[in-house]
């Protein structure tokens, strides 16, 4: 079974985000980069498919700068078989990224294409369903667990007020969210093996984004809060404030 997992190199979620002097970009100076957390669920899901099928291959694909090779090596260390970097220095928007990925995926004969449900950072949740639409294959988003069957994949998906079970014909794209696929840690053996696995770099099919960033800004600071020490009256006072001052109750 051929599985391709599309991943993204993103700033560590602990990172303090600073805006640079142009006010249109993040200051990438001292940022540590990781595989986007949701993409790690997708890699884990892909590895389990290969284990359950007792064969097959898990390939990683990413769009990014040459530095993204390191990110791919981390994914290979988890156990993926090979990786491809579609290189570009430009930051593309979701549609541009989807087009670059689709160009590579067309004719790849992958039966399952996995994505994280969103990339930590851009947080847009677009690329997976966009790629599927461009490729003309079914897509199920927000999948917490799935099972591959004969020519189909059966997925669990959370929706507002409940859970859905959706069946899709293969080849299919799934975007994976938190649930079943707690990602494995790369073992030392895995890290060593990753250095020898095939990692291919080629130029991404670039498209100029039609999204123009006018300005980035920090979140507005919330005002100083009224923090009360616990006392018999504190709770009554808090509830009164919530009702009368904040209009929240």
């Amino acid at each position: 079974m051929k599985v391709i997992v599309c991943i993204k190199r993103v700033p560590d979620t602990e990172t303090r985000i600073r805006i640079d002097q142009t006010r249109t970009q993040i200051d990438t100076g001292s940022i540590k980069y990781i595989i986007s957390p949701y993409d790690e669920f997708a890699i884990e899901a892909g590895l389990r498919v290969r284990e359950d099928a007792e064969g097959g291959e898990v390939s990683l694909l990413t769009v990014g700068a040459t530095e993204a090779q390191e990110t791919l090596r981390n994914g290979l260390a988890m156990g993926a078989d090979q990786a491809t970097l579609l290189r570009t220095d430009s930051s593309m928007d979701g549609l541009g990224t989807a087009k670059a990925l689709a160009a590579e995926l067309r004719g790849s004969e992958a039966e399952l294409i996995l994505f994280g449900v969103k990339a930590a950072g851009s947080d847009q949740q677009q690329v997976g369903p966009m790629v599927a639409t461009l490729l003309g294959i079914p897509c199920v988003t927000g999948v917490s667990s799935f099972e591959v069957g004969e020519g189909i994949v059966t997925c669990q998906r959370a929706i507002e007020g409940g859970v859905e079970v959706i069946e899709a014909d293969l080849p299919a794209a799934l975007t994976i969210t938190k649930g079943e696929y707690e990602p494995r840690y790369a073992s030392l053996k895995g890290i060593m093996a990753a250095k020898r696995k095939p990692l291919d770099e080629r130029e991404a099919d670039f498209s100029q984004p039609d999204i123009h960033i006018e300005r980035l800004s920090e979140p507005s600071a919330r005002g100083e809060g009224q923090i009360l020490e616990e006392s018999p009256d504190a709770v009554t006072e808090l509830v009164r404030l919530l009702r009368e001052e904040a209009n929240a109750l």
């Binding site: 979620t13 947080d123 998906r157 006018e214 980035l216 509830v239």
Partner: protein
């Protein structure tokens, strides 16, 4: 033409709660660019009788696609209808709500029309006739203000952020019956399990009572349940990542970077220290209350109100105080 389309969702034949926000946002944007708002809603025959509220929220025209196969969301059917409708129409902008349906459908529509998508927008302005959108990035650690140079401009808006306005004009409600062949679908819903009656999803609640590791034990959640019930029907339980990872609470309740992003009217954080990743998910709530034993807990830096103390004393007292206030 400067018209704006609001894509409206229904569930079980009823317009969903957040839909009027989308319509009002569309009406607001349309008026600043010299056009008017329309609404498109897909569902089963008879749906048209439930859409009056969309006119009041700002839709001069409401188009209802009625077909048995549209009763529940199916990406292929909904994409087909939306694409045909947009090709026939002439909209400057299209707005979806960033719900699980909106986040699933909007990217497909955008890719089909070969236009970008602005997701999870929290602000819309117009400058010199150009719509400018604001959205959080890096889980709300920064905000991006951007414009989209495409036709149409497609965005999803974050639920619970945009207001619902009241309009007083005569709207036109039209139904149409698209041709749908469900045998061509390549994905299908096998089962749909609704949450229990009266349990509201955390992403849709007006008030959230959220518990963290300070609750010490899953058995202690009863006090949060009681507070939730006392506050009222539009209240949901939330949870920090720690207690979800520990298996104490379901992932559906998790608020934060790898959970849900919420912006309720009131967020009560109980025994939650306020890690950066949790704050990312709730810091745009209108009012934040924190109850924590530790005066240095980071949650207090975003709280509008708080009590430093023992939550096991404070929470039951809050429930009582609200009960007294109500009577």
């Amino acid at each position: 033409m400067a018209d704006v389309l609001a894509f409206v969702e229904q569930r079980d034949g009823k317009i969903v709660n957040g839909a009027c926000e989308v319509v009002s946002a569309a009406a607001q944007l349309a008026s600043t660019i010299g056009g008017s708002a329309s609404a498109l809603v897909l569902g089963s025959p008879g749906l048209a009788s439930a859409v009056e509220g969309l006119v009041t929220a700002g839709a001069k025209e409401v188009d209802v696609a009625e077909h048995e196969a549209l009763a529940e969301y199916n990406p292929e059917a909904y994409l087909q209808v939306a694409e045909e409708y947009l090709k026939d129409g002439d909209f400057r902008a299209v707005i979806f709500s960033a719900t699980s349906i909106g986040k699933d459908l909007a990217p497909r529509v955008a890719a089909k029309l070969d236009v970008p998508l602005g997701s999870d927008v929290t602000g819309i302005e117009v400058q010199d006739g150009v719509p400018l959108f604001t959205r959080p990035i890096y889980s709300g650690k920064a905000f991006s203000r951007f414009s989209i140079n495409a036709d149409p401009v497609i965005i999803t808006i974050r639920p619970n952020v945009f207001p619902v306005n009241d309009y007083d004009f005569d709207g036109q409600i039209t139904t149409f019956s698209p041709d749908i062949d469900s045998t061509t679908w390549r994905s299908r819903v096998i089962k749909r399990k609704s949450a229990e009656e009266g349990v509201i999803d955390v992403s849709e609640a007006a008030v959230i009572v959220s518990g963290g590791r300070g609750m010490k034990d899953p058995e202690n959640w009863g006090i949060l349940e009681e507070l939730r019930e006392m506050i009222g029907p539009d209240t949901a339980l939330g949870a920090s990542r720690a207690v979800v990872d520990a298996g104490w609470r379901p992932h559906a309740e998790q608020v934060g970077q790898t959970g849900k992003t919420v912006a309720p009217k009131l967020y009560i954080a109980v025994g939650i220290s306020g890690a950066v990743q949790h704050l990312a998910g709730m810091r745009t709530s209108q009012t934040i209350v924190a109850i924590n034993r530790d005066p240095d807990a980071p949650i207090f830096s975003v709280a509008d109100y708080g009590i430093v103390g023992d939550l096991f004393e404070v929470i039951p007292r809050m429930t009582d105080a609200i009960k007294t206030l109500n009577s």
